[in-house]
Symmetry: C2
Subunit: 199 residues, 2 copies
Amino acid sequence: MRVQRLPARARYDRATLEAILDESFVGHVATVLDGTPIVIPTMYARVGDRLYIHGSTGSRMLRALQAGATACVEVTLLDGLVLARSAFHHSMNYRSVVAYGTFEMVHGDEKVRAMEALIERIESGRWARVRQPNRKELAATTIMSIPLSEASAKVRTGMPIEEPSDLDWPVWAGEIPLTLTRGTPAEDDAGMAARAFSR
Amino acid sequence: MRVQRLPARARYDRATLEAILDESFVGHVATVLDGTPIVIPTMYARVGDRLYIHGSTGSRMLRALQAGATACVEVTLLDGLVLARSAFHHSMNYRSVVAYGTFEMVHGDEKVRAMEALIERIESGRWARVRQPNRKELAATTIMSIPLSEASAKVRTGMPIEEPSDLDWPVWAGEIPLTLTRGTPAEDDAGMAARAFSR
């Protein structure tokens, strides 16, 4: 779909920002660990104006975040490859969010609600159907949240920028859309009784 | 495809690491800027044992990297959602690489070769068909590289871990594969002569 002739990479409104966060599955969490920048991919879920990540209580990064290390979280959806007539103007279409802040530990009911949100991101309605976390599992899971008060979005859409003098260059130019597609589910055959249930 | 019953997240050999880097399009570059961690998405290309990123000469992050700031680059391919019978064991299948190091400025012929690699990542054979960068464009483009000597890969494949006592829990469990799929190319109609050419 041709959105506009020239790409726009402006900051967007809250709804756009939240839509990006709610579509992607992987967040890239950066912090400083022993003086060295580190960035790791992680599952996350947005609830209201906070982003929740989870991890093992043994994670060095989560321990650093717990100790108050400042952090940056980036989420990017790759929407297309942008092929220009000049090498210089090749690009990608994407929607991304970057949030800065400090993570806080999440406890009690908020922790369970965050776990619910993480499961619901994978499949809507699933939380009610799976075995709920027990005391031991809750203790082994660290949930932390970061506010979205210092978050902004960046979006590029549309066709390549071209120099006017390149417009008759004899090469195909345009956008190749990219979409993260769900394939055919592969059922785990470890469960006997589970076989009677299908999606 | 059932790779193995239990997920493996080991470090892999060089070929696996390079295959991950050569399949993904977006790298997540983290560094420390004015005392704050920052992570941004960027196009990249691997050539031999180095990773090349490009950007505008005006980028604050590239200027920090140019000044010798230590960096971390992470690349992640999301391969599937892993649905377990317990909330606790839900997961994702992925292949990721994390590389630590310091970026170096790239000049001269190596810079042009890196630009070629970036274009070839988008479409094989394209570099020879597009208008080559001119002196002004070369000057406006910063290319930097980071060695892959401090890089490692992490991979999760296969089915969910389950507690034996959960195996008869009455819910579907398994993997929903995710693939980044190329859609129908949308041609830019700005070029008159270009219309005669098709992919």
